[in-house]
């Protein structure tokens, strides 16, 4: 432990009790970020205790790394410092579920999956479906601005968050937004913290707008010999009145991995579609999609009944976990592109893996402009520089089309080869000033964000 942190452990133990402060290297190493282990771990049991921890860390000049479920902890540059991991798994209560007004207030450490179970009891749900949703926490989902296939119909966290509570780097607690779905009382501070990756403070509570569970859900999928056939269906759908919940485009590797979950035989490019609503609109859309699939001569099609829909989409969101073998490293990235360029970017990301004979899978939230790619690297694959240079090429292509490429997960050594976030953008100076105003001493998850913020 760095000498200047002396006294911090005692202060944290006094605030949280000894059992909730970790100093054992074996324990702290479990919360290493990009190979940087914190000196201490702190597990506050309430939002007030998060505030005490932040205040104590500020006083000691200790850098904090917030931890939720750890599912997106790979996102970001290696930390410039990490003294204390603040683990939020004990701050995990439902504060208020106001079903009559379609909203819920929940603490940040609650897992999204647990929240959905609680909401389901009143036949409501939060329409956000990030990867690893069984483990991902509400706070982590917001801090990383994670999203999934459902964003096509429902949007992302910024469209569902009504309010939040945040502990600022000096320990001060603030409330942003509120409980109502229209609110212009001052700046929309929710937006500042969504996706800020803990660099402006720690989110401790969130209030979400909810939806009634749809009366019916169904899923259809098709396999196509050529990407252009699947792309044709996507283009037709986006130009139609149909309202699918999700349109996931799959490269041949993803189709192979997902065949059993989707009930699909055959190889090629895939398109999985999720439909939700009343029985009448779902049945009509199932028919329309199967007809569209036949119209472009799909090799195989499948329609899943209601009870198989959730597991199938769970598999789609987490398809990279199905890649076989034990890799020495996994590199995943998210490409954001113009909606009309999504298919091209999927093709380019797929070609990169094939060119280097990597085990890989690529999927796209077609209709939302998001491509996700995962490459496994190991001793038998080409050197990391080759893949990094290929990803830089993809990034240039994405940026030329007004988009971006962000590394979601990669070994620290790989992050030395290429920037995690890409170019900083024209208003970076404002972002830098925001960071300096909210966290003048640079103690809140320092170094991990865009431009080294």
């Amino acid at each position: 432990m760095r000498p200047e942190l002396g006294g911090l452990r005692e202060r944290l133990e006094a605030a949280l009790g000894g059992a909730n402060v970790g100093v054992d290297p074996a324990e702290t190493a479990r919360y290493a970020v990009d190979g940087v282990s914190p000196a201490l771990t702190a597990r506050p049991g309430s939002q007030e205790e998060v505030s005490s921890v932040m205040a104590a860390c500020a006083q000691a000049g200790a850098a904090v790394v917030p931890w939720g479920g750890g599912t997106a902890i790979g996102l970001g540059n290696p930390p410039s410092r990490a003294d204390v991991a603040v683990i939020l798994d004990r701050v995990d209560r439902i504060v208020e579920f106001d079903a009559a007004n379609l909203n819920v207030t929940v603490e940040a450490g609650m897992r999204l999956a647990d929240l959905q179970v609680a909401l389901g009891k009143e036949r409501q749900f939060l329409p956000l479906d990030p990867p690893a949703d069984a483990k991902a926490t509400v706070g982590g989902l917001l801090a990383a601005n994670s999203s999934g296939p459902w964003r096509l119909l429902y949007g992302t966290a910024r469209d569902w968050l009504l309010g939040m509570r945040v502990v600022l780097p000096d320990g001060e607690r603030i409330r942003c937004g509120g409980k109502v779905i229209k609110n212009v009382s001052g700046y929309d501070m929710n937006k500042l913290f969504i996706g800020s990756l803990g660099t402006l403070g720690i989110i401790t509570e969130a209030t979400f707008k909810l939806l009634p569970l749809p009366a019916a859900r169904a899923s259809v999928a098709g396999v196509f010999a050529e990407l252009s056939q699947a792309a044709g269906v996507v283009a037709r759908v986006l130009d139609s009145v149909l309202l699918p919940e999700a349109l996931e485009l799959l490269d041949p590797d993803a189709v192979t991995l997902l065949g059993p979950a989707l009930g699909l035989d055959g190889t090629g490019y895939g398109l999985a579609v999720s439909l939700a609503g009343s029985r009448e609109t779902v049945e009509r859309q199932v028919r329309d999609f199967l007809e569209l699939f036949r119209g472009v001569q799909a090799r195989a099609t499948a329609a899943l009944p209601d009870q198989r829909v959730a597991p199938a989409w769970q598999a789609i969101r987490n398809v990279f976990d199905l890649l076989p073998g034990v890799p020495s490293a996994r590199i995943t990235c998210k490409i954001a592109a113009l909606i009309g360029r999504t298919v091209d970017m999927l093709a380019a990301a797929e070609a990169l893996g094939r060119r280097h004979k990597l085990r890989a899978a690529v999927t796209a939230h077609a209709g939302s402009g998001i491509v996700r790619a995962c490459y496994l690297v190991g001793p038998e694959t080409p050197p990391a520089e080759v893949l990094a240079s290929g990803l830089e090429g993809l990034r240039r292509e994405a940026e030329a089309a007004e988009g971006s490429l962000v590394l979601q997960e990669a070994p620290p050594a790989f992050k030395k080869l290429m920037d995690v976030w890409g170019k900083a953008g024209e208003a970076f100076e404002v972002m830098r000033r925001l960071k300096a105003d909210f966290d003048p001493r640079g103690l809140s998850n320092p170094g991990r964000f865009l431009g080294g913020i």
Binding site: V180, N183, V184, W421, G425, A427, M431
Partner: protein, 466 residues
């Protein structure tokens, strides 16, 4: 405040004809739809991002405040140059730059009227969803500044949910593009922070919005009630039944009377309230949903439910709703529009208390509300020439906001803070919250030149401390 050298620079940038500084010209720019007035020191007409940047750079150089102005429909004084300075008249920047159907985006200039975008998109089969009632005269730049809502936001969200990128002129005159046509730009969501910032963080000169296909079907119902409670209970029952209509709008009897006298839309005059329910989406279940809603309306005491038979009937219902503020304006010389928002189920309770406020202050308060999202617009009627009345109106308005906050609501749903609600900010925010928001202000506008004197108690102190 605006010196001769600054005026000279403005004329060099824009040409003589585009700079106004005579007292008679400036009179036209001293008010908006709120109740206060302040004359600017100069008004400039801008046509391009470069011109806006030039004007703002000049203001920065001379330390002079600036305020962008769109349609001037703001209801809280957001457009009033309360510290003087330069007003930038944006309405000549009113072009649709691009409708990009392949990418489901449109790129527009801020002076474009909201309705004009809709009118342009509809024949192509598309729509831009946020639809403030003032859409004929409200500009998209103003919608961005205020994060405007409208009847459709219960289902589709407000302006911020449909704005994906902006070109900004920052308060020092720098031009920066943020967000864009592609999603999820890296870094802080400055687009999200800017929307709703009421002109206090800079000026947007280009806006990228989401466009969506027009729905396959639309169905509009009018339910007529003899009690307001019955109407609001129906709204809760519809939501509890798992339905999400596009709109759930209510008007009370005095508003209906004013609307009918003004516009003759076919609303009944002998009822307590009407509820306008619009369903949209795939046509397959619209009939079924409409029947279910009709049953719910009757079960909760509707004495009659009408279904618009055609587009003309539907248009008439909406014309009445959209014209409600204008119609009410015929009753007395002035009114103050309140804009509180409460959790939907608290509506009946709050409406009863608003009626008590009306009695206590001896003021007429007709009501229009977006019942689906709990946003109520009590309209406090008065005569601005009567100072005593005006004082009572301001007190009554504040009391209504306090009522909203007390049940878990807030002081503004869609009209903003502006000048009107600077004091009310403390009803919903503590010192820590206000300080945090002022940090944002300072990061964008360290000299406090962008629409100063709005939203926050004393931002200048914070900015000067920087």
């Amino acid at each position: 405040m605006v010196s001769q050298p600054l005026l000279k620079e403005l004329r060099q940038i824009l040409g003589k004809a585009n700079v106004l500084d005579s007292a008679v010209d400036l009179q036209h720019y001293k008010y908006d739809a709120y109740l206060e007035e302040r004359r600017p020191d100069a008004v400039v007409f801008v046509h391009t991002t470069e011109e806006v940047a030039g004007v703002v750079r000049a203001c920065d150089k001379y330390g002079v405040p600036f305020v962008p102005r769109g349609g001037g429909t703001n209801l809280t004084g957001g457009t009033i140059p309360s510290k003087g300075g330069v007003v930038l008249e944006m309405v000549r920047m009113n072009r649709i730059l691009e409708v990009d159907r392949a990418n489901l985006r449109a790129r527009v200039q801020p002076g474009l009227f909201n309705l004009d975008l809709g009118t342009h998109l509809a024949p192509l089969g598309y729509q831009y969803l946020p639809d403030p009632a003032s859409q004929k005269a409200a500009t998209l730049g103003g919608n961005v500044a205020e994060n405007s809502g409208g009847p459709h936001c219960f289902k589709y969200g407000v302006t911020t949910n449909h704005v994906l990128g902006l070109t900004l002129v920052l308060p020092d005159g720098t031009v920066a593009r943020i967000g864009g046509k592609a999603p999820d730009a890296s870094g802080y969501d400055l687009t999200g922070v800017f929307v709703g910032s009421e002109g206090t963080l800079g000026i947007c000169t280009e806006i990228v919005v989401r466009i969506m296909r027009l729905p396959e079907g639309v169905k509009t119902l009018l339910a007529i009630y003899d009690s307001i409670e019955a109407g609001s209970e129906t709204v809760s029952a519809i939501v509890a039944a798992g339905m999400v209509p596009a709109t759930l709008e209510m008007m009370d009897q005095p508003v209906l009377k004013a609307v009918e006298e003004f516009m003759h839309c076919g609303y009944p005059l002998d009822c307590a309230t009407v509820l306008i329910i619009e369903l949209d989406g795939l046509k397959d279940d619209l009939e079924i949903q409409a029947r279910a809603i009709e049953d719910l309306c009757r079960a909760h005491g509707a004495r009659e439910v009408r279904v618009a038979k055609n587009d003309a009937e539907r248009a008439a219902l909406w014309a009445g709703r959209r014209g409600a503020f204008g119609a009410v304006a015929r009753i007395t010389p002035s009114y103050l529009v309140c804009d509180g928002t409460v959790p939907r189920t608290a509506l009946p309770q709050v409406l009863r208390k608003v009626a008590e406020v009306s009695q206590r202050y001896q003021l007429q308060i007709p009501n229009v509300f977006h019942a689906g999202d709990g946003n109520l617009h009590p309209l406090i009627l008065f005569d601005w020439r009567d100072a005593d009345q005006k004082a009572r109106v301001m007190k009554a308005g504040m009391e209504i906001l306090e009522l909203c906050v007390a049940v878990g609501g807030t002081i503004s749903g869609e009209h903003g803070v502006g000048l009107e609600k600077i004091d009310a900010m403390r009803l919903v925010h503590g010192e820590a919250e206000i300080r945090a928001q002022l940090r944002v202000k300072r990061a964008f506008d360290p000299k406090d030149l962008a629409n100063p004197g709005k939203m926050f108690p004393r931002p200048e102190e914070v900015c000067r401390a920087a």
